[in-house]
Symmetry: C2
Subunit: 344 residues, 2 copies
């Protein structure tokens, strides 16, 4: 049987396709009634750990929205749980880590674990999803990038200024190095297991890299992100995602990735120009734009497409995840607008 | 009597000076014991409204740190109080606006007021400070830029995603225009009154502009910021400050200002190159860098100075305000390092 011509995978490889592929970060999320119903019944971690439910959550938006890729339902912090740091998803706030890492000793006390064994529920979900999707659209696996994971481990949750994280690399660069090396190793293994189970592309989320100076990024982040990307199963496209990094694009590019995420704080044409056209890009509608009228959404989609200029290698996406209050019909209007207006 | 040769004012005008001037945003703030003692006795708004205390708070760090400019102790939201929106500084959290603006009707219901009369306590403080400083260092006046003020008015406080703000300009652009025109007028008058009272330069804080797409900035923000800057008393330097705007520098520059603020998320040489060397710049040490060791701070100061390359028109500063837990002796080490290493 011939493999269908997936616009998403073509764009990852900067090949021509008959339209611009589109998917959304957090396309399976709280803005969807189907998801809210499941969340009323189950804990967030339970949903992640039950492959049947994770698969259902992954597939629902593909059918509902008509997007060109599925993304595994999971969480970037799952890899931290087996490290013994006391990960908890609080009811209303974000995730909490009860034993944050603040010293070299804390780094050395992190539990070693085998990502293949201890995160097997993720690969079970991947297998189920792949089977159900039957090649309809590709499945994207994902993981947090070492820096973003480290910042959660060190801050103990979300952060505004990342003071503890930066203090650790300023004051104890050797401890920082050991932490980042361990995270890079775990993340690469975790992603390769997802690929072995059926993920056809992977996205590395370095969501908080935008808090860094370019010099600190080069010294304390780039080598470890690069180590992850270099270790990914050859031939599988890697999307390298970050936000707030308009001043860091050269460094993000140097860390690697077949596709570089651009957020809405930079014009797509200018961002792509800075990265170079020998790499694909993903983005870059403002997630808040989905609160505008469908007519306005269409105009904003048109602007992004105009800046991409029909160049092969553009995956349409938001600059960050769908916000919880977003109207579902506006998301559908966006997806339809991308398909209609980019049809070649 | 000849006016002393102020390095700060020289840099605003891109003239040569014998060293690089330095001051810090929030140099009078919670990281200082003197300030914490006063805050234990008085409300934040009380401190702003008592010219003697505001003057004392303004001058203390000048003496303590040896910086090259004083900045008025006040708050960007003071101009919102006479509009009748119920401004309150909550004990531990940030400011709250009890009657946020969410519609054209809310915009029209904002109270008109005369900034010269109703904010006279600010100009009284400016006069006292100018008298006490006796030309030792220049005094910087300041105000919030129309967008940042509008976002507080609309969100009702701080925000993560600025959904209400963006919804207002997406959905009711005419109401947005009326709001921004009113804010621009008030802000320009307020700054010119500060100048009339003795402020020798002014800084416009567009702290949250970094949440915008370049296109939205051009359409919904730039004209109003430009209107403020164009209305400032001729000859008085304007510093145009924002954060997270590495992808917006062209637009920030087009809005105006003699000095453009750069935050740490872009290398100073690259940011200055994008702005053009026919404008001065201010920045751009990461505020968190002050938690590093004095030796590391010195190395980071050296890197910023190296990127400024001795070019006239660089004011050394952090990329945003001093954080509350910052060690005072580290701040002093930073100021000394700037003076020592930039001495020409």
């Amino acid at each position: 049987m011939a493999k269908p011509n997936h616009a998403f995978l073509a764009a990852c490889r900067r090949e021509h396709s008959s339209y611009t592929p589109v998917w959304l970060m957090r396309q399976a999320g709280r803005y969807m009634e189907e998801y809210r119903k499941l969340r009323a019944q189950y804990d967030f971690l339970e949903l992640c750990k039950k492959p049947d439910l994770a698969a259902e959550i992954t597939i629902t938006p593909v059918e509902r929205l008509g997007v060109d890729a599925a993304i595994l339902f999971a969480d970037i912090l799952l890899v931290l749980e087996p490290m013994g740091v006391g990960l908890e998803y609080s009811k209303n706030g974000g995730p909490v880590i009860h034993h944050p890492v603040r010293s070299g000793k804390d780094v050395d006390n992190l539990k070693d674990f085998d990502p293949q064994q201890e995160l097997s529920f993720v690969y079970d979900a991947v297998k189920k999803i792949s089977k159900t999707l039957k090649n309809k659209v590709p499945l994207i696996g994902f993981a947090g990038a070492p820096f973003t994971l480290a910042s959660y481990l060190i801050e103990g949750g979300g952060s505004r200024n990342y003071v503890h994280t930066k203090k650790l690399f300023y004051g104890t660069p050797e401890a920082w190095k050991r932490l980042m090396e361990r995270l890079a190793k775990v993340v690469a293994e975790y992603l390769n297991c997802q690929i072995a189970a059926g993920a056809e592309a992977v996205q590395l989320f370095d969501s908080w890299a935008g808090c860094l100076t370019p010099t600190d990024y080069e010294q304390f982040v780039l080598p470890y992100t690069k180590a992850v990307i270099d270790a990914i199963t050859p031939g599988v496209p890697v999307i390298h995602f970050s936000t707030g990094t308009a001043g860091l694009l050269k460094q993000i590019r140097a860390a690697g990735g077949d596709v570089i995420g651009l957020d809405w704080r930079v014009n797509l044409d200018e961002g792509w120009g800075m990265l170079g056209h020998d790499v694909a890009v993903q983005g870059n509608l403002d997630p808040v734009a989905l609160f505008a009228s469908p007519k306005d959404i269409k105009a904003r989609v048109a602007d992004v497409l105009r800046r991409a200029d029909g160049r092969p290698g553009h995956i349409f996406n938001l600059g960050h995840g769908v916000l919880p209050e977003t109207p579902v019909d506006h998301v559908i209007a966006m997806v339809d607008a991308v398909h209609e207006m980019s049809s070649r």
